[in-house]
Symmetry: C2
Amino acid sequence: MLEHMPSSRNGDDAAVLPVLAPNSRTVVSTDTLVEGRHFRLDWSTPYDVGVKAITQNFADIEAMGARPIAALLAISAPGTTELSVLTELARGVGDSVERYSAQTVGGDLCSADSIIIGVTAIGVIGGSMSALTLDGARPGQRLVAAGRIGYSAAGLALLNYFGPDELPLGFDALIDAHCAPTIPIGRGVVARATGATAMTDNSDGLVHDLNTMAERSGVYIDLSRQAIAPDALMIAAGRAVGTDPWEWVLHGGEDHTLLACINKSTPSGFRTIGKILSTQNNQQAQTHAHSRITLDSQPVQPHGWDSFA
Amino acid sequence: MLEHMPSSRNGDDAAVLPVLAPNSRTVVSTDTLVEGRHFRLDWSTPYDVGVKAITQNFADIEAMGARPIAALLAISAPGTTELSVLTELARGVGDSVERYSAQTVGGDLCSADSIIIGVTAIGVIGGSMSALTLDGARPGQRLVAAGRIGYSAAGLALLNYFGPDELPLGFDALIDAHCAPTIPIGRGVVARATGATAMTDNSDGLVHDLNTMAERSGVYIDLSRQAIAPDALMIAAGRAVGTDPWEWVLHGGEDHTLLACINKSTPSGFRTIGKILSTQNNQQAQTHAHSRITLDSQPVQPHGWDSFA
């Protein structure tokens, strides 16, 4: 697999990263993908899984306003796993890491009962401005987003309904969004550079993740129905599987869309999807103690996202 | 588990580490422990496993001449796992990390078929001197070691032979070395500061790991029989289980002893256990193509270390 990890930083006890610019800080995050829970190899190719593992982890780095520079990959797999599964997985990781101009600087391969992929992402954030944490949203700001919302959940619903071999034509963008998601690269740094004060990525559902940010920041968020409405492809998928596509938009996870709060104009690559409020803008909504999120002033309850386990 | 990870750097998409001193570099490594392969919960307490996970990973950072500053912990476990197992594991991790004055800055908990612990260790190395890689050993240097050699394998042999409930008295130091190993803290930085040019830790067996270093550096290493001879406790354990304790010294893994090559006098906390040579010092040894290691000029073949899987 080393051919997909061409860094000279590999192969010693640990990898030494480059000297950073003065005042830079390192940003780190770790995440695990478990076969049967976060991916299925009858639905996704091993290459896809590698792509997903990096997107999921690098999105967490981007969501701090940082730039991903390195990944470490720990694969546990049964001894009976075909070597091609591991090399394809590593190739997906390697290609994704390369798209970020980052490096895979280390790894570990060991035997276990199922395939478990652990990725640690390392990023760098420069200058003295704060990283974009969950507690930095302020009333009066606009909520902006970079990336698709609901596509991953729509793809998952199609796979669940039709299985991988009977999928109707035309839904590739949704399937890919679930099996091998990618996000626009470098938008996290852009958001921070243009004045965003809070950011997260949509991993567990739009309302769920925004509600966490709203709670941490002590604010309320009103989403624009028109700005996040399902597109024609999602509406068609909704018809095909008999689901309201708004469910995917509001509660689908794993899009890894960047969601930022900013006072100024919408940063390049983002679109405005809502606004940050100091109080709930709907009397009725205040009785929904658990939600700080409204959609065109109507309350929306968060509920968690569980892949397919 | 968060009480054992008291860092304020937790809880956002990613953790932001402090600004480093000028010219410092970040050093990273990742390693996985699988239940039934790297640890057994009928032999080790969950707390022990947490200690072992950190020692194993921080030793890789120390082996570069760096100082561990942070750990990320990814636990996969069956849904039926008792909560106390996870909290005790996290407590073992937290206590170990604290002994290094480091921080646990992130984590991930997800469900899987068995308990798998992934640790990513992050360290820092200052100044412009090189990190201590495997390829820096030079003929004429002395080989120095900090930490026990063979203790972990002796403990494992005792557990294998007697089981956890019938262990003869007096071997606690060996059992602990296997179940909850620790290494002298900070010796890696000392070795680099006092002029060592190569270092590794003994994870897969003394001869195996030294042979890797010798190959990478293009040198040969002669170990001193007297310097690494099994002590009285290991000899007693060898008698108890009917094994030559030299097997544990030469081929036992998981001691995480630091092994450094240095021109100058032996650094504080280290002892001299051999010397680096430019050619094999034994004609007979040259026929052993796979080994660059001798013991008092007698050839020793490396062979790998597999916990108990």
